[in-house]
């Protein structure tokens, strides 16, 4: 018997979940956890109902509302917007009819599906995890294979707990060295997307590796994996290690005691084998990363905050020139303009990318002793009710509210323009979310993606700001 071929983290989780393989290489892949929300599931449940099919595994299926729920108190008294109310009511009817575990809106564990999965211990290392949402890649930070699916596939998983899939290619992004002062996981992932492009990971699963990744806490790892889809990859993953296991130990729905030790034994075998071959390798030096900000309408259009708006006319081909001209016009920019001179109308801290307690702490740290600039609407939206509760225990809500931030209930909020939290046409928003597409945060709205600390810095100065220049010593004088 020859020794087993070295395998990647992705290969190992994939192999452990193949039920059977067709002659053409299509696998029937077993799915351990299926997370369901109100927007992409109604048609799937309707399909089951029409065909008279039950949900195959009720203990592997969890539902929550997050996308279109208001983040103010009106959510508790009845959602005003009739279509949103219908979608939420439809989910509630579906989970009742089919017996699916549901975390209701008035439960403090409610929150953004990609925040609560890891937080509650629903998402664990070694699992296959899917959800009808492209940011399912977030859960890959646990050392899981997690990816977004469409509604037809939601129905397929509900009915069979499997998916028909061809294996993805393996890609490794290694970030060596240590992050400089003022830089975060968000800056790492924006730098990666800037380097490989918004289709750079298409057809691949990205494994993030290297010293700078290993040094991240679980929140930072989730931020990085979250935006894998913005690089075109369906999934991003990070090998489970002591940081992961420590995180899992305190999760309410994770295994405990002997079961946990047995699980950790298996999880410890998952990291990529020495000598495993990746179809593509990319390397970055963390020490060269600066606080990043997006300037255009694609997540690949990012620059260090010290940069200037590019000149479309310098681009190589006419198609790219036309694309850049459209972006510059849509974003209301002038070529050569300093990014730091761009005034903002709104600041949003939250989303499945940056709605965890660590993100709120980072924002509050910059804000403490300062005030939101005049004319700026700034809000912090915790990713879950538990994050909100933790922040309030730490007094972060007081710091933020005293500075002039709105402090809201958990949900997707201003990330995606399908609930009442939106920006208006032509308004410019410094946002910790994940997409800067045209109209993403509201029709005609202009989004600049950045880290929570950078968003907080923009809130207090009123323009995009290099957070490294807001030294803590100066805080008292700025008040």
């Amino acid at each position: 018997m020859s020794a087993m071929k070295p395998r990647t983290l992705f290969d190992k989780i994939w192999d452990a979940h193949v039920v059977e393989t067709s002659p053409d290489g299509t696998a029937l892949l077993y799915i351990d956890r299926h997370l369901v929300h109100e927007v992409t599931s109604p048609q799937a449940f309707e399909g089951l109902r029409t065909a008279g099919r039950p949900v195959h595994r009720l203990d592997g299926t969890f539902a929550v509302t997050d996308h279109n729920v208001p983040t103010d108190s009106t959510r508790f008294t009845g959602i005003q917007e009739p279509e949103s109310a219908l979608q939420v009511a439809t989910l509630e009817r579906n989970v009742a009819d089919f017996g699916v575990t549901y975390i209701p809106l008035n439960d403090k564990r409610q929150g953004i599906v990609h925040i609560i999965g890891p937080e509650l211990g629903i998402s664990l290392p070694g699992m296959t995890i899917v959800c009808g949402d492209s940011h399912t890649s977030t859960h890959g930070a646990m050392g899981a294979l997690a990816f977004g699916i469409g509604t037809s596939e939601v129905e397929h998983v509900l009915a069979t707990q499997t998916l028909l899939q061809k294996p993805a290619k393996n890609m490794r992004v290694t970030v060596n060295g240590a992050l400089p002062f003022g830089c975060t996981a968000k800056d790492i992932v924006l730098a990666i997307i800037g380097k490989i492009g918004t289709a750079g990971g298409t057809g691949h699963v990205i494994e993030y590796a290297g010293e700078a990744i290993r040094a991240l806490d679980m929140a930072g790892r989730m931020t990085v994996c979250n935006m894998s889809i913005e690089a075109g990859a369906r999934a991003g993953m990070i090998a489970p290690d002591e940081t992961t296991f420590e995180y899992v130990r305190t999760r309410p729905m994770a295994p405990k005691g002997e079961a946990l030790e047995r699980a950790i034994q298996w999880w410890s075998t998952l990291p990529t084998d020495e000598g495993a071959v990746f179809d593509r390798e990319v390397t970055l030096d963390a020490s060269e990363i600066a606080p990043m900000v997006s300037w255009g309408t694609s997540p690949e259009d990012v620059l260090p905050i010290t940069g200037v708006v590019p000149d479309p006319e310098t681009a190589g081909d006419e198609a790219r020139r036309a694309q850049l001209r459209r972006m510059v016009q849509y974003m209301g920019l002038t070529p050569g303009q300093r990014l730091q001179d761009l005034k903002v109308d709104a600041v949003f801290v939250g989303s499945c990318t940056n709605g965890r307690i660590e993100d709120i702490r980072a924002a509050a740290e910059v804000v403490r002793g300062r005030r939101v600039a005049e004319g700026v609407r700034a809000m912090v939206v915790p990713g879950s009710g538990l994050v909100k509760e933790q922040a309030e225990q730490e007094g972060l809500d007081v710091i933020l509210k005293e500075a002039g931030f709105e402090w809201r209930e958990a949900g997707c909020s201003m990330c995606l323009g399908m609930n009442p939290d939106k920006i208006g046409p032509g308004q410019r928003c410094a946002s910790t979310s994940n997409r800067n597409f045209e109209g993403r945060q509201g029709k005609g709205g202009r989004t600049h993606l950045l880290s929570p600390a950078m968003a907080a810095a923009a809130a207090v100065t009123g323009h995009l700001t290099d957070v490294r220049e807001l030294s803590r010593e100066g805080a008292g004088e700025t008040v």
Partner: protein, 203 residues
């Protein structure tokens, strides 16, 4: 699902890269519990002004492209969100085939599940087809899935690749779920083994 076999129709040129799913259908239109009726929302922000009037410069507001059945675009079509509302909106508008140099994975996958054929062709060929499409009603493009060819208005045939299983399902309008459910015994066998090895996965 409506089968896809052959198609001859108007092709609309959309010479843009990274056409994201928020462009194909903005999020405010996702608040539906049905699959149908989303054609009005297709490319809504590119098609309509705030007062609901049409933007005459947008290709799908022009004759003959209002009746387009094929869309020709640049790289990374369908990037962004996993919303299946994107293919639903295209389908309801009348688009049955999208031709581009490459597609985002989830959109590509979702299209096949809804009877839309996404075809990957090299950029130069897409550019040629884009020029054909600009000739409007005088230039109908045909797509033959059985023979795997796109036929230009001048009769030239351009072969394309498609996954055999997906082709089979598209040609016959088959739904995956019924087929997978026939494998129930194998799935249950997998579950029994997994449950023994990793009991913490089961509640």
């Amino acid at each position: 699902m409506q089968p896809f076999t052959t198609l001859t129709g108007i092709a609309a040129p959309l010479p843009m890269a990274n056409v994201d799913t928020d462009k194909i259908i903005p999020a405010r239109f996702l608040k539906t519990i049905e699959r149908k009726g989303l054609g009005r929302a297709a490319f809504a922000d590119m098609r309509f002004n705030d007062d609901g009037s049409e933007k005459p410069e947008f290709v799908l507001n022009q004759e003959p492209y209002r009746n387009a059945e094929v869309l020709i675009a640049h790289e990374n079509f369908g990037c962004g969100s996993s919303r299946e509302h994107a293919p639903w909106a295209l389908l309801d508008f009348g688009i049955r085939c999208v031709i581009a140099p490459d597609f985002a994975d989830i959109f590509f996958n979702n299209s096949f599940k809804n009877g839309i054929l996404p075809i990957k062709l090299p950029r130069e060929i897409c550019d040629t087809l884009m020029e054909d499409a600009k000739m409007g009603a005088n230039a109908r493009i045909s797509v033959d899935l059985t023979r795997q060819v796109v036929i230009r208005p001048n009769g030239e045939e351009i072969p394309f690749e498609v996954d055999p299983l997906r082709k089979h399902r598209l040609l016959n309008g088959l739904d995956d779920i019924g087929e997978t459910m026939q494998r129930a015994a194998v799935i249950e066998g997998f579950e029994a083994k997994q449950r023994a090895a990793q009991p913490w996965l089961y509640g």
